[in-house]
Structures are given as C-alpha cells and as structure tokens.
Subunit: 224 residues, 2 copies
C-alpha cells in the first residue's frame, strides 16, 4: 500500500534487512546496532523506554507475565519488524532475543522530534501502531475463539506468510515459545504438530523445521 509498509511488515529473513533506517520515504533515522544472544533480554517490563527497536536479523519475542507468573508471549518479531514503541516512556512488556539477533536501537527522542516536525513521519508511526493493534486484535480472537489445533494452524499460516518461504519454514522459536504465544502447553502444541503430520498437512524434517504440504488444509483447520 505504501513504501514504508514493505520494509516494515513483509520481510524475508534469509536476505537480512540490512539497513538501520526506520521512518518515511525521504526521511531516515539511523540507530545504533546491537547484538543480543539467545534468550538475552533486550528490555524489561517497567524499564524506561528511551529506544525504539527494529529487528535487523534474528528473531525477538515480546511478552508479559500474569500475576501468577505465567508467561504470555504477545508477538514474535522478525527482520524488518519494529517493536518497543511506548509513547508513555515506560515499557509495558519485555523483549528477549529468541535467537542470536541484531537489533537497531533508535532514540525515542529522535523519533518524537521527527514525528513532531514531519507529518509523514508521524503518519508512519501511526500506521505502525495501527498494524500492531490489528495483530493484537487478531491474536485476541485466536486466543478467545479457537481450539488448540486451530491455533497452531493459524500460527503456522501466519509464519508462512511472514517468511515468504516457499515450502519449508525454519522456526526460530521453541515449542515452549509457541505454547506461550498460543496460550497452550508444549504437550498440546506437540500433539497438534504430530496430528497434522499424520494427516499429511505438514512434514517435520526436524522439530524446528516445518514443511507445509497442504496449505488449504491448514486454512480449513484454522477456520474450524
């Protein structure tokens, strides 16, 4: 729909989004690139949010903990995705690297002055948040209204679209991450995978690699 969208939403991991640019057509803000190791925290709930983050390579999860300590993963972020926008200045969720990851960190103050001075930058920010809002709502719909295998199917379809991978998807996240994203247990996720494999809907060359054999079956399953 718009130049920004391509570089932010649809992204293909293997040829890593190599640039550290964030907003608008003419207008680019460079951030400082940082590396994070597996499971390393990028920021935590309650911390000051003076940076906005963009995935350059690798994968990131953002999560919150319920009062009884259970983790809910709210989103996975792949190369090109932006996360950690907090106009209030305090992070309301935490972010960790799932795999070794390169993150470009842009000072919030820079983004804010850019948004204040350039209408296109403000517009880009608004669209970014709008997209996050849409996927948060979709997520709520999945958690509220779908059964276990439907959730897993929805997850796989979503991932297949984001990696524009023909055929094989290599999952950056563990079963535990998937379970905490879909609000299931690892056992249930595992059983759903196995069942789909039995039905020849997917193949599992290894636990982290998924081949979608029958996309329409997945779509049917997702609807349920």
């Amino acid at each position: 729909m718009r130049e920004v969208k391509h570089s932010l939403a649809g992204a293909c991991p293997p040829p890593t989004v190599s640039d550290a640019i964030i907003l608008g057509p003419g207008l680019a803000i460079h951030g400082s690139r940082m590396r994070f190791g597996r499971n390393e925290e990028i920021f935590g709930e309650g911390e000051a949010a003076d940076h906005i983050c963009r995935v350059v390579s690798g994968a990131v999860r953002t999560s919150r903990f319920s009062s009884d300590g259970r983790r809910q993963i709210l989103a996975f972020h792949l190369p090109g995705d932006v996360f950690g926008i907090e106009p209030g200045g305090v992070h309301s969720l935490s972010a960790e690297a799932i795999t070794e990851a390169e993150i470009s960190l842009i000072r919030r103050s820079l983004v804010e002055t850019a948004a204040a001075q350039d209408a296109r930058a403000a517009r880009a920010l608004i669209e970014l948040m709008s997209r996050q809002l849409t996927s948060a709502r979709e997520h709520a719909l999945v958690l509220g209204r779908k059964g276990a295998s439907e959730r897993v199917a929805a997850f796989l379809l979503q991932l297949a679209d984001r990696f524009r991978a023909h055929g094989e998807i290599s999952l950056p996240m563990s079963r535990s991450d998937i379970a905490d994203y879909l609000a299931l247990t690892i056992e249930t996720v595992s059983r759903s995978f196995t069942q789909m494999e039995r039905d020849h809907t997917i193949e599992l060359p290894s636990s982290r690699r998924v081949v979608v054999c029958d996309r329409s079956a997945l779509e049917l399953l997702q609807a349920a």
Copy 2:
C-alpha cells in the same frame, strides 16, 4: 499525564461527556452527533472508515467474528472513549450500540489533516492508539492466562475503575456480551457471579447491578 487523557480515558457516565470535541489542548474538532438504538450497528467489518467515533453517552461494543461465526468482543466503549480509528480506511471490526447511545462522528479526513498540520494532534492520535494497544494486550493476557472466575474478576475491576462509581456498578451489557468479551459462555459467567456473591465478594441487587463489597478479594481472585 496530559489534558487529553482525562477527557478520553477516565470518564464518568452519569454526568455525560457532553462535548463533541476530540483532539489536543487548543485544537478541537467538532463532529456530528448521532443517536443509535439498542443493538444498532454503528459500522460493520469491511465498511469504509471515513469517520472516527467518540461516545458521548451510552455504551458501545466493538467485535469481530471468527470464521466459524463465533463473536469475540474486543472492547467496550464508555462515554469519552474513542473508537473506530482506522488509518487504512477500512473497518477491521464492527461496532454496535449496547444501550441507546449518542455518538459523535468526526470525518477521518479532518482528523488526518489536523494530524498532518499540527504535531500536537498527531501526538494525541498516537497516544490514543497506544492506549488501545495496551488494553488489547491486557485483554490477550486475560484470555490467554486466566481461568473463568479470574477473567470475571478482572472484568469487574476494570469496569469499576472506568465508572468511577463508589460501590455500585450498573452494567450496560448483557451476560452474553460479557461472555463474548471474556471468551466464556453465559452460563460460566453467571456461575462466576453467583460464586462471588456466595463468597460475599460482590452483591447482585439485580442482574445488571453489581456492588463490589470486597475489592481486595476481587484483586486476589484476579491474580489467581
């Protein structure tokens, strides 16, 4: 935190938010006020979103339908709340009046030009969306990580805070609305209410009126 916030987030229904103003400190956009009857559709999924809406009086629900036809209510909107912001121009959810409601409709184009010309307006929009994003995430956490009675407790606390009603809350929505918001059945919602009444946590003078007797018990229950 900011003048806008007070008029948009915390609102007290009885003295209805009588104004049709929307953004910023100096900057106000007037909308045309419209009345909607019980269960009347304000806008539907897929329709063109050329207006942004603000509740003047009454209550509104926004919802989406899962592919198998089950409804998920994403949010309730009370006087002062803004809903229906869609930068993409198409509504990704539908909105209906829960009770007789007055809604002020502001042309999207006006808001967009305001946001393009005035940085404060853009900022206000961004904060509005940020707040919606935060509550969508909170909702996902509740749906993903809480049991039935914990969900109901969370719902009651949330509502008690939004109506700054001392003691009694009068629910604008039916059990069916509550169930579709919390992703439960009406039976389970009803049972949770009854159980809380037995525990002297709440009282139910009528099915639409709730008195919170023991707030800390609710908070404890919510955490679970």
